[in-house]
């Protein structure tokens, strides 16, 4: 933290500062306050709010991994739900067949995710854009079919029930315990992504995303880094799926429809492409959104007659929000946040908000 004498504002004077996770004292203070708030939350929240927070953390892990792949490495994937399903089913199968503990199943899920990531990523070496999207979409259906086959062959036609994991003989089932575990998982995912992105890997991904040919000419092993993006993203996604399976205590293919993929893509879009903060904001927004709609709908007069329509209203509203962000606010919530920020930073001078960079 070097303050140049006589300078107003914050200037970076070394590369170490440029790479630092937290740059100013203010940022540290903010983070500390945020951590305190997060730690205090389970003691004041109702069980419902606690569940909501857990869902947000789960969604954050998934959206962070998708942001890594789509927002930074620039590879389109429509197979996210398939990867989450793969993680969840790894847990389900290992638990049912071998009664495996979570310290076996979680690494196994990550491993399966990484292996699938290679398969999902292989088409990306040849295909781009729309064709890549379609190939991942096709793989999604294959994974779901395999899961469905397993369910029906082994006689779990309604789904696989999973006991809560136990740690040192104590089974983890209370909301507070889950809150802590999922918070740690989300924080770990954020830290992994952040570290990857500020290192060589992240720079390679950004270069590939910006221009593949140029990236190759700069000496970046394009194929290797593309596959790496798929592998890392898929491994994190599969772990998110495994945590999801434990949290719900139940795995069934119905939960992993194409709509789930769309929801995760919506998190990335709504949050703002190419920003980890965006991934978390988007995950929070998309997770809480249906409950807000539900609350708003039930607050209307004649709420009882509307209850049956809830699902449809949610669907339509979700579509509208997505269209709104895609067409009118492509930079997402982060874009709005940056605009507000720069408005106050530059306050008396710049009346028109400068168009912020994409990243």
């Amino acid at each position: 933290m070097s303050r140049v004498p006589g300078a107003s504002g914050y200037f970076r004077t070394s590369y170490a500062q440029d790479l630092a996770l937290l740059r100013t004292g203010f940022e540290r203070a903010c983070l500390a306050a945020f951590i305190v708030a997060l730690a205090a939350f389970p003691f004041v929240a109702s069980p419902f709010q606690l569940d909501l927070a857990c869902q947000v953390f789960l969604a954050s892990v998934g959206s962070l991994s998708l942001m890594l792949l789509t927002g930074y490495a620039g590879q389109i994937s429509l197979g996210h739900a398939g990867l989450i399903a793969a993680g969840a089913f790894t847990v389900g199968v290992l638990f049912r067949e071998m009664n495996a503990q979570f310290w076996v199943t979680l690494p196994a899920a990550a491993f399966v995710g990484a292996a699938l990531g290679i398969i999902f990523g292989l088409p990306s070496l040849r295909l781009r854009g729309l064709y890549l999207a379609v190939s991942t979409l096709a793989l999604h259906f294959v994974v779901i079919y395999a899961g469905g086959e397993y369910e029906s062959r082994r006689g779990f036609s309604t789904g696989i029930v999973i006991d809560p994991p136990s740690l040192g003989g104590v089974s983890i089932s209370s909301g507070r315990a889950w809150y802590l575990i999922l918070l740690i998982a989300a924080a770990a995912a954020l830290l992994i992504c952040r570290n990857l992105l500020r290192a060589r890997t992240g720079r390679a991904w950004r270069a590939i995303s910006a221009h593949e040919t140029v990236a190759g000419a700069l000496g970046i092993a394009v194929a290797r880094y593309k596959l790496l993006a798929f592998v890392i993203s898929s491994a994190i996604t599969a772990v998110a799926g495994a945590l999801f399976a434990y949290y719900r205590g139940f795995v069934s293919v119905e939960a992993f429809s194409l709509f789930l993929t769309v929801q995760y893509l919506a998190m990335v879009i709504v949050g703002g492409m190419g920003s980890l903060l965006g991934a978390i904001l988007g995950a929070t927004f998309i997770t809480i959104f249906p409950y807000v709609i539900e609350g708003a709908l039930l607050a209307l007069p004649g709420a009882q007659s509307l209850a049956g329509l809830l699902f449809a209203v949610n669907y339509a509203a979700f579509g509208l929000v997505m269209i709104f962000f895609l067409v009118l606010e492509p930079l997402g919530l982060v874009g709005i946040w940056r605009r507000v920020q720069s408005y106050f930073l530059l306050w008396p001078y710049a009346r028109r908000s400068p168009t912020g960079g994409r990243r």
């Binding site: 769309v262 879009i269 339509a316 579509g319």
Partner: protein, 290 residues
């Protein structure tokens, strides 16, 4: 014989839906993931007009077809127009969002229960025996007939029609086309209109044949496979692809496992992408390889 008849009917359905993907992709390089929902919307429009014109089935079909064209143009003018020239992902996601919005609206307006437009129109759907040992329903026969008509019409239109030639020009090179005074937005709107129209016709006929609810949109997504197999910018390819995918699907259902029906089209997609990503008749440069 029955197997062959089944293949032909399914191929006709796929072909009728797939040409919608091809039309839009060929002109504007957008994959329309809302195609399934748009065709279902067409079917629901028929259901709505059926109650107005209960005794004039042809009027009902005509009115709903015109309405579906209007829907296609509206979708383009209101939403997709803004997405021209945007990233591939953004355009795809916008169509997905449109699909989700439509699904929600359809359930809001017509409820999620299964509807039967056939009964609303006071029509019947007797099976007919084409050759010995193979019978298909009247509506299925109509689908085959309609597909032949639509494809005949499209080929003639694209080859000889003034607007058809313009559409091909816009697809080949948008910049040059607009330099020659072709109104690109009108062309794109026309492509959306035609695509929604053919999709809606398919949706209506399927709904007449086997009832109607919002889960029907899945078949629209499956119909993307024939379009890709044949090459995304080739109408003849879509026709050929429809036969390949329908053949594979019917045979897999018959000989292997009925559960495969939803997966086969996607397996075919993967096989195509591995072997020949640009499809049977597609243009190779599409792939944008380095």
């Amino acid at each position: 014989m029955q197997l062959i008849a089944n293949i032909i009917v399914l191929a006709a359905i796929y072909a009728l839906l797939a040409c919608g993907y091809v039309l839009i992709y060929r002109v504007s390089r957008v994959m329309n993931m809302a195609h399934g929902e748009l065709s279902v919307l067409g079917a629901y429009l028929l259901f709505a007009t059926a109650s107005l014109f209960a005794n004039h089935p042809l009027t009902a079909i005509g009115v709903s077809a015109v309405l579906s064209i209007a829907v296609g143009v509206l979708v383009y003018v209101l939403l997709m127009r803004k997405m021209t020239g945007e990233m591939v992902l953004a355009a795809i996601l916008t169509t997905i969002a449109i699909g989700i919005l439509l699904r929600g609206l359809i359930v809001l307006i017509w409820s999620a229960a299964q509807q039967h437009p056939l009964e609303a129109l006071h029509l019947s759907n007797p099976p007919i025996e084409i050759v010995a040992g193979a019978r298909i329903s009247t509506c299925a026969a109509l689908i085959v007939l309609m597909t032949a008509l639509v494809y005949g019409g499209l080929f003639t239109f694209l080859r000889f029609g003034r607007w058809g030639v313009r559409m091909r020009a816009a697809g080949q090179n948008p910049l040059l086309a607009s330099q020659r005074g072709i109104n690109l937005h009108a062309i794109y709107a026309l492509a959306w209109a035609l695509s929604t129209f053919t999709g809606s016709i398919a949706g209506m006929l399927i709904a007449l044949d086997s009832g109607l609810d919002q889960t029907m949109a899945v078949i629209g997504l499956k119909a993307f496979a024939p379009a890709l197999v044949g090459g995304l910018d080739s109408l003849a390819g879509a026709l050929a692809g429809a036969f390949i995918v329908a053949g594979a699907e019917v045979l897999a259902i018959h000989y292997i496992n009925p559960l495969l029906s939803d997966v086969v089209p996607f397996l075919v997609i993967i096989a195509t992408l591995i072997v020949r990503p640009w499809g049977l008749f597609g243009t190779r440069e599409e792939l944008d390889r380095v």
